[in-house]
């Protein structure tokens, strides 16, 4: 499972960076979304994957009897997902708006602010 997740994360990062380097704005956004998901999965994987071990102390004991799943990465991912959802929604609207005003999807043509 770890190996599979690690490969998925690597693929997400690679695909994300590849898409960011394209000239099209839509691919840029998709690339950022993939990268964001890659980062979330990375937190998930690095919080150690454990199956069927909820962090709850059994009623008849006072301490954890076994290694338990770490709840913090899940809280972190939840936060990160919500944040990146908001930012991505914003970015998509921005791209749409920019497309309407500039009339192109090509980032290379958006150079008026770089002129001296």
């Amino acid at each position: 499972m770890e190996i599979l997740l690690a490969i998925t994360i690597g693929l997400l990062y690679a695909a994300g960076i590849f898409l960011i380097l394209r000239r099209s704005m839509v691919r840029l956004i998709i690339g950022l979304i993939l990268l964001g998901n890659g980062a979330n999965l990375l937190i998930f994987l690095l919080g150690r994957i454990s199956k069927g071990k909820p962090p709850i102390i059994p009623e008849d004991s006072k301490v954890f009897l076994d290694a338990y799943a770490d709840p913090i990465p899940q809280a972190l991912i939840l936060t990160a997902i919500v944040i990146s959802f908001g930012l991505q929604a914003y970015a998509i609207i921005l791209v749409k708006r920019a497309y309407r005003v500039v009339k192109t999807d090509d980032i290379e043509e958006m150079i008026t602010t770089d002129e001296i």
């Binding site: 990268l35 964001g36 890659g38 990375l42 937190i43 990465p73 972190l76 970015a91 921005l94 008026t112």
Partner: protein
């Protein structure tokens, strides 16, 4: 209870923002509430800053969860001063924006977003938890995204595409760094991480995380070679927005670099020399970029990049003297850059253009104003006894102690190039005869403004100029504060003890 002073600078902007939301379409009422809200935040942060100068590090465990487990807010002297300066800059910008931001932008939520931006800034200065720092960064960037695109002019949208992309990328890289640190050490608390990193022997992964954080914060603070988004976007929004961006947003990146690389990744020779290379390149390349520009705000944007280099150089040397110079420069730069961008906005109001070739004759027409501008400009350059001189003196002294010729050369060359860029502005905006005055006169709005509005635009520039003069003329006092900060930064054990052995931790 006394520790609650830490949370006020975060809560008050939030409260003002919520109050402002109730007056969504009444931009006149919003303007009063904004200034009042920023005024109250300024008082609260002044109180916090004064308390940190006694040498205590104030910590607040949110929800009374003991330190390494809950989210901690920490105010040492560096955080306290930065919160104070951020609130001061935001207060001045809010005064400036009362007149300079039109009803169109105000009715789409300019003023509440400005409060949220200040909340994010104060939060990231006070966060004692690296994931919390990430969340505050997101609060900052989402507010800044709205501020930079509000108005939807073509240039704004084009600039915003670059700004948004680079900031999102920086956040993802930062998050990757956090993931690696958490996976390796199982903690997010900065003080706890510092202890655990010192004990850990997996230097390879820790250095990977360090480089990821360096790149993430480096993009945000616009150091070489990750600065291209800054001059492409900072000159596009209204001057009030440029002012708060130029003054504060890049400095948050620098603050995060200082915090992380003084507390977590201490004394790694590779990272230190990387900092020195990046610093010297930023100084020189930023200043050279400023020379060729024709738009005042783009000149200032490139000068931001150049001057970020000075602070990074201090981080690269990391002796006590260098840290004093670095934090002093940070304080000076917040005031001066905010002021510089507000001045460019005022020049736009007076002459109807940001471009050097359309400007001229300001000294002839407004001699007293020009003297105020001159003070701000020369403190940007670092002419003694203005505020830019002292931190450069400390940085130079620190680099002479180490005989680091790269930094010595970089500081001198960058200061000289800054001087040339400022002289260029001075010559063409103030001294030269106005080239096509009659044609430009149509676009000038200044004459139609009522006196009270003229006063409200001039007041924040005057306040910041006076603060800059105060820093320059009363440097001994500031250096005392910087010494305290340098002591706290160079001895991470003070920070760690304050967070982990907080008496509230014991049940």
């Amino acid at each position: 209870m006394i520790a609650h002073v830490v949370i006020w600078p975060i809560l008050l902007p939030l409260v003002s923002a919520i109050v402002l939301m109730f007056f969504w379409n009444q931009s006149k009422v919003q303007r009063y509430i904004t200034v009042a809200g920023h005024g109250i935040s300024l008082l609260a942060s002044f109180w916090l800053a004064l308390r940190t100068y006694s040498g205590d590090i104030i910590t607040l465990n949110s929800g009374s969860w003991p330190a390494p487990y809950g989210i901690v807010f920490v105010a040492d002297a560096l955080s306290g001063t930065l919160v104070l300066l951020a609130s001061l800059a935001a207060f001045c910008v809010s005064l400036f924006s009362v007149v300079s931001i039109g009803t169109g932008r105000a009715s789409f939520g300019f003023f509440p977003i400005l409060q949220f931006l200040l909340m994010g800034l104060n939060g990231s200065f006070l966060a004692g938890d690296i994931f919390n720092l990430y969340v505050w960064f997101e609060v900052i960037i989402i507010s800044s995204f709205v501020l930079i695109t509000l108005g939807s002019e073509r240039a704004q949208l084009e600039g915003a595409i670059k700004y948004v992309t680079m900031n999102l990328l920086a956040s993802i890289i930062f998050l990757t760094g956090i993931a690696i640190l958490y996976g390796l050490l199982g903690s997010l608390n900065l003080a706890d991480l510092s202890v655990k990193i010192a004990q850990s022997d997996d230097k390879g992964l820790i250095n990977t995380a360090a480089i990821l954080l360096l790149v993430g914060f480096g993009i945000k603070s616009a150091i070489f070679p990750m600065y291209f988004w800054l001059p492409a976007s900072y000159h596009t929004p209204p001057a009030a927005v440029s002012a708060i961006f130029g003054g504060l947003l890049t400095k948050v990146g620098v603050y995060a670099l200082i915090r992380v690389f003084s507390l977590l990744f201490i004394d790694d020779p590779f990272i230190r020399s990387t900092f020195i290379v990046l610093a010297v390149s930023s100084m020189i390349i930023g200043a050279m970029g400023a020379l060729v520009q024709q738009n005042i705000r783009k000149i200032f944007s490139f000068l931001i990049i150049s001057h970020i280099g000075f602070m990074i150089a201090g981080l690269g040397m990391f002796s006590t003297l260098a840290v004093i110079g670095m934090v002093f420069y940070l304080f000076h730069d917040i005031i001066v850059k905010t002021n510089a961008f507000m001045i460019s906005g005022l020049i736009f109001k007076l002459r109807g253009s940001f471009r050097l070739e359309n400007l001229g004759g300001l000294y002839n027409r407004y001699p007293y104003l020009s003297i105020m501008f001159a003070l701000a400009m020369f403190s940007l350059v670092g002419t003694p006894p203005l505020s830019g001189f002292w931190p450069k003196l400390f940085l130079l002294k620190a680099s002479f102690n180490e005989l680091n010729w790269w930094i010595i050369g970089g500081i001198i060359a960058a200061s000289f190039l800054t001087l040339i860029a400022v002289i260029k502005i001075w010559l063409s905006v103030f001294w030269r005869k106005h080239p096509n005055y009659v044609e430009a006169k149509k676009r000038i709005v200044w004459y139609d403004l009522p006196k009270i509005q003229k006063f409200t635009i001039l007041l924040p520039i005057a306040i910041l100029t006076v603060v800059s003069l105060y820093i320059g003329l009363n440097a001994a006092k500031i250096v005392e504060i910087c010494q305290l900060i340098a002591e706290q930064i160079t001895q991470p054990s003070l920070y760690i003890d304050a967070v982990l052995s907080n008496p509230e931790n014991q049940p």
